[in-house]
Symmetry: C2
Subunit: 367 residues, 2 copies
DNA sequence: ATTTAGCACTCGAACATGAACAGTGCTAAA
DNA sequence: TTTAGCACTGTTCATGTTCGAGTGCTAAAT
């Protein structure tokens, strides 16, 4: 994929990398003269200018206006993250924080995701995102019913490794045996079934089995279907939205407004990201990076999303991501997300605290 | 409470109200000439100017700069909401939306709060807030244990009307009987106890009762304590943060930044608001309004918080609020929050759909 | 064939200027 | 007690000016 880009001369690569590094550092367009300060670049400003003009021609750079320096284009960033970006080694401090997170050994998926998201936001100082993706065939493995009081039952549903509960209220007292009976019926008829597979005939069959308490069936089934569809719909949360304001690219009100509006379009985001996160294959093994208006969320003009899937026994159960300006500190963010998600995946699988070393390139997967 | 403010002449009240109404309408300082267009005010601009000067003297108005009109001060708004603001009658449409919410008959407190918050944000076009307040003496009423698989138990805790679950993992297989045994021990020893009341001797006592499976006790108790302290710590959520940007007062980056930072200081907010929401007495019966830097959250310079407690069987279990510029449409917001919270409270208590009429003044409680 | 120095050019940022305007406070008359 | 009139003040907006950074191009140098 980056083979075809190898047609960039080494000198062009050097200059492009220097420009992007500098731009990430200070956020301003970088000019030819500035680059001559870079020890690695032993050419005059005029030479650099010529190279820059060519790089612009090729689409890697752009010029805000005639008499300004150059800034990287989205294509430029793409090339940068694919083949130019340095490896970042997490500091001892950062490693320690990550370790503390997984040693905490939470087992509730939601809690884990939330904590991981918080930590990601804190460590990177960008906005963090936690996704519980949509899933295709959500079914309840098992039902339990618990009597809260005479009139109230609690329906407990085991979905994969997680538990969902719902209250069921009756107008007349429900004896304990009826609750057990209902649980039995549910487990016989409604377990391992998707919302679509719970049909009217099935419901009527269950009602018949419940005798005089048949009136309980319909509301319970309604609750079940709501829960299933609510759960397989996925969920997305954000943390550290205010951190956006640390970066000058969001000082533009319109852009900011768009971003905040985006954050509230949770259904859309869940849908789009679930498709990315749910992919089987090498894609979901690695950190994924979406720069600017590259495919998915069109609105993210000047923003980049870096995220990686979290798995439990091989299937994706979540994703943690970072959202920030295209001009973000890619090397740190990539390293952070990669280590974080790997750590969480490990813990989910077997509770083993992971190694926490920077062992392989999180994007290309090599060495 | 507003008796002592009655020393304002009727004319001053008229003018003050007109100024605030106008300012709420268009957001700009209002001048003397503009007010002469108001049919109710049959004085010349000069007279109005004199009155305005006096009102400023008294602290109800302020002047951004010498040659501008007047804007209401926080004191002015306070007086306005206490004694000047009109009653707002919800439109048929609004009433219908509220009705739909409660007819939905959710029974999960969290879901109800979340839906109510969403609706509040949508109907008012301000940022909405949902609070589950801190509580003093949270205890688990009952424990249940469910076997997920050989190595995993699910601990189910009944706290008041709500259910909390936690996973418990064991290194070696746990037979079903052991789970039941553990549940029995928990119900005997750890029910109705706050986190502080579960002491080391008690823990050791439980361990002794569990025989060779004593290793389960410690992690379970840890989970329980975490859950209790997590739960009684309360929770706060927001919806529609981007709506802030509809209002020019948040076009100032610094202010906006402060607001967003405030939204992320959830612990502090929960603490402060819980104290307000949890008060027994008339305070929590009514819509509460905090204007600008009035007590609590100091940072809310140009913002107002309007909120009201939601109760179940007389005790506060939540609160719904609206956050917006001090220049907010008080009459609509107050009416909305009042009707919404009353409706939800009703449903929580007995499932009765409430009347949905504007029957009494939500702030002063009279007539 | 490359690289570099030099120079004219362009454009935006920052600042100053001045007119138009809205709204005030004050005074004197009604 | 109210009102008309007027001088005064501060904001906003359009316009103009300067300054400097950075460019592209050309011609000389390597």
């Amino acid at each position: 994929m980056n083979e075809e880009k190898k047609d960039l001369s080494e000198r062009k690569k050097l200059i492009l990398k220097a420009i992007i590094d500098a731009h990430i550092e200070n956020g301003e367009p970088v000019g030819s003269k500035f680059l001559t300060q870079n020890k690695q670049i032993a050419y005059s400003s005029a030479t650099i200018r010529n190279e820059m003009a060519e790089l612009e021609e090729m689409g890697f750079l752009e010029q805000p206006h005639t008499s300004a320096g150059r800034i990287p284009s989205e294509l430029g960033y793409r090339f940068y993250v694919d083949s130019l970006v340095d490896r970042y080694n997490l500091t001892q401090n950062e490693l320690a924080e990550l370790k503390r997170l997984v040693l905490n050994k939470q087992t509730e998926l939601d809690t884990i995701l939330q904590n991981a998201m918080r930590l990601a936001a804190k460590l990177t100082n960008y906005t963090a995102m936690a996704l519980r993706p949509r899933m295709l065939r959500i079914t309840v493995d098992r039902y339990e019913l618990m009597r809260l009081d005479e009139y109230t039952l609690v329906l407990i549903m085991v979905i994969g490794q997680t538990i969902q509960t719902r209250h069921v209220r009756s107008q007349i007292p429900v004896p304990a045996e009826v609750g057990m009976q209902l649980a039995k019926v549910l487990n016989e008829c409604a377990a391992e079934k998707t919302a679509e597979e719970i049909t009217m005939p099935l419901l009527m069959h269950m009602e018949r089995q419940m005798g005089e308490y048949e009136f309980l069936v319909s509301p319970v089934i309604k609750s079940i279907c709501e829960t299933i569809t609510g759960y397989d719909g996925g969920e997305i949360r954000f943390e550290g939205i205010n951190r956006l304001l640390s970066y000058p690219e969001y000082y533009d009100m319109d852009r900011l407004k768009e971003m905040l509006a985006l954050f509230e379009r949770k259904e859309d985001l869940v849908k789009i990201l679930s498709e990315e996160a749910g992919q089987i294959g090498p894609g979901s093994e690695q950190v994924q990076i979406f720069i600017g208006r590259e495919n998915l969320v069109k609105i993210m003009d000047n923003s980049t999303l870096v995220f990686k899937t979290i798995k439990r026994q091989g299937t994706p159960v979540g994703a943690i991501g970072i959202i920030g300006p295209t001009r973000m500190d890619y090397k740190r963010v990539i390293a952070m997300i990669d280590t974080l998600t790997s750590g969480v995946t490990n813990v989910l699988d077997d509770g083993t605290p992971p190694a926490f070393t920077n062992d392989q390139d999180p994007v290309t997967g090599k060495e």
